[in-house]
């Protein structure tokens, strides 16, 4: 098959390909990906980079951390990493560069389990960190390592609707009205979607005097209004914002703010439902990795600094609700107070919520069982 002609052809193709790739690299990606050298090829790229640097005990050589995070934290950590490097350099004189990797929370957790050498994980929910505990990469007491259940910032689930709110969506029960299309990622794969789902469930329970059968009916109906089920929060945002599908996006509050600010307030607006859920995205040091690489000190400082005034400020600027009261006081206008359910009080913790709702054969699976 191989003649000289094909060689020439391959060259032409390669050239064309480079052009196409270059174009796609700029245009095809999310606007959010524009920062420096991170995500996309996370695993491979950062892995090699990480292993190349066994921390020596010399006068503080530059160190590199890998922060494996979930989907919508890209912008937050770009800003925070820069602040932390400055802070760390001022404090210890050591250079620190932080690489970020982003993706669906579950996928990211799995990557770490499968050997991605993350120094710290900052995921969407405790369940995914618990999964990393299981093979012994993180110590079981991670949640008590840092204040506030190791959640330096919180968020909640809000509705993003198209400008003017043409379908008049005000609360959860409006989502199941006729001809309303709801965009949410798949709770099986997306951390954010699990919060969406639980908030809806909590609302329905409350409306129906804690009748679980009614709540199940409600969420089943809700998911009948979902035309596209992406696997991660960013995917859903793209579907809603770029593809113009659906009337309402169930989104992280920060993701909703970001969509509005990136794409202009003339296109979308945020609707706060009467009740939502307090999402506490936790952080943890991956004990095994930092001990192997000798990066424990800086990794712990990295997470700890999230609680500092500056860290909290950055979180708030990136639309995460700060836990520090002084910082929160400055942002009361941005973050509307609303009634929030909590995972521990209202759902008996992640383990229970997970087995009941999202595990195979759980409530969520029943939604997609034929004939239900």
């Amino acid at each position: 098959m191989l003649k000289k002609v094909t060689h020439f052809r391959s060259v032409v193709i390669l050239f064309a390909l480079v052009l196409v790739l270059a174009a796609c690299g700029q245009g095809g990606n999310n606007a959010a990906n524009k920062e420096t050298n991170k995500p996309a090829n996370e695993g491979a790229a950062t892995n090699t980079a990480a292993t190349q640097e066994p921390a020596k005990e010399e006068p503080k050589p530059p160190v590199e951390l890998l922060n494996v995070s979930y989907d919508p934290t890209r912008e937050l950590y770009v800003a925070y990493n820069e602040a932390f490097s400055k802070h760390w350099k001022a404090e210890t004189g050591q250079e620190v560069t932080i690489k970020q990797s982003h993706g669906g929370s579950g996928k990211q957790g799995r990557a770490v389990i499968d050997g991605l050498k993350a120094d710290v994980v900052t995921l969407a929910l405790g369940y995914d960190i618990d999964a990393i505990v299981e093979p012994g990469l993180i110590n079981a007491d991670w949640q008590s390592k840092f204040e506030h259940n190791s959640s330096p910032y919180t968020s909640t689930i809000v509705f993003l609707v198209r400008k003017g709110n043409p379908k008049g969506i005000k609360d959860w029960n409006d989502l199941i009205k006729d001809k309303v299309e709801v965009i949410t990622p798949n709770p099986k794969t997306s951390g954010g979607a699990r919060w969406n789902y639980l908030a809806a469930w909590g609302y329905a329970l409350k409306q129906n005097g804690n009748d679980e059968a009614k709540a199940q009916e409600f969420v089943t109906e809700l998911f009948k209004h979902v035309p596209v089920l992406d696997s991660g929060a960013r995917g859903s945002t793209t579907t809603f914002v770029e593809r113009g599908i659906g009337d309402v996006l169930l989104a992280w509050e920060n993701e909703a703010f970001l969509s509005i600010n990136e794409l202009g307030p003339d296109k979308f607006e945020i609707v706060y439902p009467s009740l939502s859920i307090l999402a506490e995205p936790p952080v943890a040091v991956v004990d095994k990795v930092v001990d192997d690489r000798g990066t424990r000190e800086v990794a712990e400082a990295y997470l700890k600094y999230l609680y500092s005034e500056e860290g909290q400020e950055i979180a708030a600027k990136n639309y995460y609700r700060p836990i520090s009261e002084t910082v929160a006081a400055k942002y009361t206008e941005q973050f509307k107070t609303l009634e929030l359910l909590t995972i521990d009080k209202d759902f008996g913790g992640w383990k229970e919520a997970q087995t009941k709702h999202f595990a195979d054969g759980g409530v969520f699976d029943k939604i997609y069982t034929p004939g239900s």
Partner: protein, 277 residues
């Protein structure tokens, strides 16, 4: 491609066969064996309930059906493209020829995103089709389009060389013996092309069954409707259900293998017939 082992001019059969087996083991067999081992963690009943779950069964149907259909479309139009590229001379032929290979090289996710942008209800093509009530993106049609895109080069590149080597004399003879054009095509050209066409179809089909990157963007991923099997495998993995994921993978593997085997057999028989005729 199949060399006979007797009467070889060049020595080294043993060595090269040994290397082939070794190489295939490392690259293909060992990873696939891992699928079997991981699946073995499940009991028989767990395995059975995983792979016959309604959602999983629906996803087999979607994956195999769309891949099959995309393979068929590619067989027809791939043949056409190969024909044009071999039989006619026209300006820009080289460029078209190289365009055919692009789907090979392009990262599938890029293809998926591009196709979705075009076929989404607010995209160029999608917005034209939407008023007609045709929904392409986020429906099985969208999946099929992505798979057609991915599979096109397989058919063209397998048919092209055969077509190139075909002797024009047989066609001319057929025409001179009084066969009409259509008859010439059906009775003379197509049978000779059939084995290659079938190979191309099988490759495109097999590729389509396993395709993940481009499809997830355009499919909408709705359980029971547009959820492909590879996505379901990914979903299982993301829930840390490794054994469940490999169980489904195993079913895909076995079914795909059987299908390829059948196609190969068919092709072998056809080859024998054209040779012995």
């Amino acid at each position: 491609m199949k060399g006979s082992k007797s009467r070889n001019v060049l020595p080294g059969f043993g060595l090269s066969l040994g290397f082939t087996l070794f190489y295939l083991s490392i690259i293909v067999l060992i990873p696939l064996a891992a699928v079997f081992f991981k699946t073995a963690e499940l009991s028989w009943s767990e395995f059975w309930s995983t792979v016959t779950n309604a959602r999983v069964v629906a996803s087999y149907r979607i994956s195999f059906f769309t891949a099959f259909f995309a393979g068929l479309v590619n067989a027809v139009f791939g043949l056409l493209i190969a024909w044009v590229l071999v039989r006619y001379r026209f300006p820009g032929k080289k460029i078209i020829d190289s365009l055919v290979d692009l789907p090979f090289a392009l990262p599938t996710a890029v293809a998926g995103i591009a196709l979705t942008a075009i076929y989404a209800p607010n995209g160029w093509v999608g917005s034209l089709l939407a008023p007609l009530g045709v929904k392409v993106a986020y429906s099985p049609i969208g999946i099929t389009i992505a798979l057609i895109f991915i599979g096109l080069p397989f058919v063209v590149r397998t048919v092209q060389p055969v077509l190139q080597d075909m002797e024009k004399e047989t066609e001319e003879a057929a025409v001179m013996l009084g066969a009409y054009r259509l008859r010439t095509f059906w009775k003379v050209i197509l049978p000779e092309l059939m084995p290659a066409l079938l190979t191309g179809f099988a490759l495109a089909f097999a590729r389509g069954i396993g395709e993940y990157g481009s499809v997830v963007f355009i499919s909408g991923n709705m359980p029971l409707k547009t959820e492909i099997t590879p996505l379901l495998i990914m979903t299982k993995l993301e829930q840390y259900d490794y054994a469940g994921a490999t169980a489904i993978a195993l079913v895909m593997l076995v079914v795909s293998f059987l299908m390829l085997l059948v196609i190969n057999l068919l092709q072998w028989r056809m080859n024998r017939r054209t040779v012995s005729d």
